[in-house]
Symmetry: C3
Amino acid sequence: MTSSDDRISAVEAELRILRDEREITRLVASYGPLVDSGDADAVAALWTSDGVYDVDGLFMQGRDDIVAMVRSRAHQDFIARGCAHFQGPVHVTVNADEATAAGYSLLILSQDSGFRVHRATAHHWRFVRTGAGWKASRRTSRALDGNSVAHALLNAAVRGLDI
Amino acid sequence: MTSSDDRISAVEAELRILRDEREITRLVASYGPLVDSGDADAVAALWTSDGVYDVDGLFMQGRDDIVAMVRSRAHQDFIARGCAHFQGPVHVTVNADEATAAGYSLLILSQDSGFRVHRATAHHWRFVRTGAGWKASRRTSRALDGNSVAHALLNAAVRGLDI
Amino acid sequence: MTSSDDRISAVEAELRILRDEREITRLVASYGPLVDSGDADAVAALWTSDGVYDVDGLFMQGRDDIVAMVRSRAHQDFIARGCAHFQGPVHVTVNADEATAAGYSLLILSQDSGFRVHRATAHHWRFVRTGAGWKASRRTSRALDGNSVAHALLNAAVRGLDI
């Protein structure tokens, strides 16, 4: 028969997984609201201080680069005309103090009549556990326009593999 | 060394957060299926009896108002032609017996050739714990068409702040 | 006063629900990345060996049928031109060794200028607990084009009812 202490240890171990996945899921779910409200510092704080944000045509490293993207003319124009960085659910795999997640986003833009899908993007996220909680160490994103890199990102991410 | 009882108490406290967030997440995830199938009473039952549902151009308070919206000609026409009230993941912050959530939805409409995005909307949800579980006490929603109120809703919601 | 063992048992029972819902949610979240990267065997392995995948105009039963769909000319053309099988959050109801989930997906296709919503679909999922974890035993999917079957699928699924 299992002792009470063993049962408690098993429960604690299982809770640790749920807690880590919850924190990472919330981090990703906060990205859209923060970037669509132009909160540049809060967006940048989702990454580690030397975190990488690698998206088609733009390679950012470090929080200053991310702040600059949010404050850029291009992003501010999206906000002013109306945009939604609509994230889907993420598939998270935690491995000790690192984690990987697969996800999608749609960039929806307002137009004269209704809205349109400007871009559908595949994401491979990497996270690390820090003293200030989980942070993104790298997000690699490619449009799903037939580019085989986007397919490779999704497949590696959902298997919990680095790229 | 931590006693068994202290360890159990810590586990119970952590489970309480996960349980509350799960219940609220399921409530939001049930909104689309209920509203797209025209289940007016079940949609209204997601709110408290005096709950507020404040969306562009329509202010509802109380379940009768919500039932009337679902049964309205406008909503029934959406259902008949084909619509999806597609919700994204929510970012939930629980504070004792109240909670706040940030989220997005897309209203997708069927048209002669395929489908189109009719509206992309930002949501600030408030919930209260009741004897019948968590209920929405207020949902404030604005289209992401450049309206700065929509940006303020998202930013407050993701920080767990009321508006 | 509740004994320590009773408290541990209550925690274990609650964790069982969270664990089951987590596993099913991850299964659904892996569908998009696997199908959009053309990983036919991994897609098929989400279903039981005699699982049913019933979608408008195509009835599949068993993993060979699902593998054939992923490898079909139609699906490979979607991948090559650029597609996202964008899943929304699912509403999961577990009942012992069976489970039901309601969900939506958007099929987004790349086109000359940006992207478009090719289809918005309602899903009624059924799962069973197997020796290899939860597997889909049936997914029934209908486009939200006004078809009343799609409405019935959503409403049954969110109530945890079979169809």
